[in-house]
């Protein structure tokens, strides 16, 4: 068995210390090394990526980014590590983990459970697609993009609009554009309160819509375009969406 590279993400220092102690106790049975530690999800993503983690222990209840959202972002990595959730008391999450056969440990962590989870991770077991979304359907706070082995996070609040182009969806912010590998329909479903569908291929941030302009003729008839704060682009509104979009500005 090759040495597992372990990363621990928990906002509480004593909890990280405790986990390291227990890991040390089972080093003989499952060879591993602690390749990194982080106190929150944002740091954790960088640590997990640069340490090329095989296994990540992550606390569910953390500030800024929950453990579940962290694990979702990890999945954009080319070779996502196994995720083992740790929680003090979260009946809802624990039930969901059981149902979906997701690995988790409860605090205080017991070494027998830790060893079992570590052994399972060593076999290469990974999270199934879509499991995390079904466990916690709450919208993420960030989009994640894998770039050269790193994870770039874009806060959802900074996104002005998203447009589907051929195979990818382009995400536009004031600073720059990003390509994300998620279908537009899924994004619309997750962030219905934040973005509104203005066209078959486009979602716009609801709170940034400033008004409408008459646009040049397309497909034989003149239509309307959306003016968005923070962007010079004028995005056409499809006739199907017009009534709904117009109602957002009054």
């Amino acid at each position: 068995m090759s040495t597992l590279r372990v990363v621990i993400v928990d906002d509480e220092l004593p909890a990280r210390n405790r986990l390291r102690e227990l890991l040390e106790d089972c080093r003989e049975e499952v060879p591993h090394l602690v390749a990194g530690e982080a106190a929150n999800g944002v740091e954790g993503l960088q640590v997990a990526a640069s340490a090329q983690a095989d296994v990540v222990f992550v606390d569910i209840h953390m500030p800024e980014m929950s453990g579940i959202e962290f694990a979702r972002h990890l999945q954009v990595l080319e070779r996502p590590p196994a995720v083992i959730f740790v929680t003090a008391h979260d009946q809802y999450a624990v039930r969901a983990f059981e149902v979906n056969a997701v690995d988790y440990l409860t605090k205080p962590v017991r070494s027998a459970r830790l060893l079992a989870a570590l052994k399972k991770a060593a076999t290469g077991a990974r999270l199934a697609r879509g499991v995390l979304e079904s466990i916690d359907p709450a919208p993420r706070r960030h989009f994640s993009i894998a770039e050269r082995g790193r994870v770039t996070l874009v806060p959802v609040a900074e996104v002005i609009y998203l447009r589907a182009e051929l195979k990818y969806v382009t995400l536009h912010t004031r600073a720059r554009d990003h390509l994300v590998e998620e279908p537009l329909s899924q994004i619309e479903h997750e962030f219905g309160g934040v973005f509104v569908r203005i066209h078959r291929n486009c979602l716009a941030a609801r709170r940034l819509i400033r008004g409408f302009e008459r646009s040049a003729e397309t497909e034989g008839e003149a239509g309307w375009s959306v003016v968005l704060e923070g962007s010079d682009e004028r995005l056409p509104v499809s006739r199907r969406q017009w009534a709904q979009v117009k109602a957002l500005v009054s």
Partner: protein, 340 residues
């Protein structure tokens, strides 16, 4: 922990109300006058007659009522020591005596001063006290034992399991490297749970309540480290004030859970306790995280504390919350009662 005598107005359904409580007094005045109104209605033949009759009855009633209320206020500690039955009789005797005492002056207040008038007044006094006794008995029963006792217990045993398990985990992390600190932490934890699980029906001193909060915060400090900063501003002397047990601790716990834990940067919890005349003012504030506040847990704790304040102090206590300048603030105002 020292246990203080109960000053709850409804420790048992068979107990006299606390005659020094503003809410009790106003209820007595309103109900007695409502009864006078009914009497006036019954005694007047037509509507035009009614206003005059009521003024007449009220003119005779008010001085008596005032005297009764003053006597009950003064004699409240004595009455509290009597058994319920003797207490009821004593209150009835006070009412009758006051009515009789004012009788010689009733001529000047619009009465004609004959013995039938006196008999009518005495009957009114007996009816009014009986009705009030009955009202307070029903009210106590509605608030009391089964329902509110159960609720009190449930409310008070409400330290978050999240806190217990995280704390145990933090203590375990110390056992190997720093056994002394682990010991101290377990002692704090034991003391805290002893208080939570105690029979918390009686009032406790503010000093004890603050001590419990400090033990709780020691444990949180253990796992949150420098993320948690607490500023205490406790006016010297107030530690002898009587407060409902577990009044402050759930609020401090909420402040940590909703104000400190969701933040990446360190946050400050401020607790200010001061005496303003015969009022005790408690103020607690923590950083406000919009998406994390006003959750079920917070609302539950607040309504729980409101309810207990009401049980102990009726309308004389208040609890208010607001968000000011990025901070969530809770203010409690209640009567200042000292250890007897």
């Amino acid at each position: 922990m020292r246990k203080m005598q109960s000053i709850r107005q409804n420790a048992l359904p068979n107990a006299l109300p606390d005659f020094r409580n503003l809410g009790v007094m106003s209820r007595v005045l309103v109900l007695a006058n409502a009864l006078a109104l009914l009497f006036a209605m019954a005694r007047s033949r037509e509507f035009a007659d009614f206003a005059g009759k009521f003024t007449e009855i009220a003119g005779q009633l008010e001085p008596v009522l005032l005297l009764v209320v003053i006597v009950l206020y003064a004699g409240s500690p004595l009455l509290a020591r009597l058994e319920y039955r003797s207490g009821v009789l004593a209150v009835g005797a006070v009412a009758l005596a006051a009515t009789a005492a004012f009788f010689p002056f009733q001529g000047r207040l619009g009465g004609n001063g004959d013995w039938r008038e006196l008999a009518g007044s005495l009957v009114f006094a007996i009816l009014a006290t009986g009705l009030l006794d009955w009202y307070f008995y029903l009210r106590n029963r509605a608030f009391s034992p089964a329902l509110s006792e159960a609720r009190l217990q449930a409310l008070q045993a409400r330290i978050r399991p999240h806190f217990l398990f995280n704390s145990l985990n933090a203590v375990l992390s110390l056992v190997r490297k720093d056994p002394k600190r682990a010991e101290a932490a377990l002692e704090d934890l034991a003391e805290l749970f002893r208080t939570v699980m105690a029979d918390n029906r009686d009032l406790t001193t503010l000093g004890d309540e603050v001590a419990i909060c400090r033990q709780y915060l020691n444990l949180e400090q253990l796992r949150l480290g420098e993320r948690l900063d607490v500023k205490w501003d406790v006016e010297p002397g107030v530690e002898h004030a009587l407060v409902p047990p577990m009044l402050l601790q759930p609020l401090v716990e909420n402040a940590v859970y909703h104000g400190i834990e969701p933040g990446i940067t360190p946050g400050v919890i401020e607790v200010r306790i001061s005496r303003r005349g015969d009022r005790l003012a408690l103020q607690l504030s923590n950083p406000y995280h919009e998406e994390h506040q006003h959750r079920q847990g917070n609302r539950m704790a607040l309504s729980n504390i409101r309810e207990r304040l009401q049980l102990h102090f009726d309308v004389e206590a208040s609890l208010e919350t607001r968000v000011v300048g990025g901070r969530y603030e809770i203010s409690i105002s209640m009567p200042y009662r000292n250890v007897p």
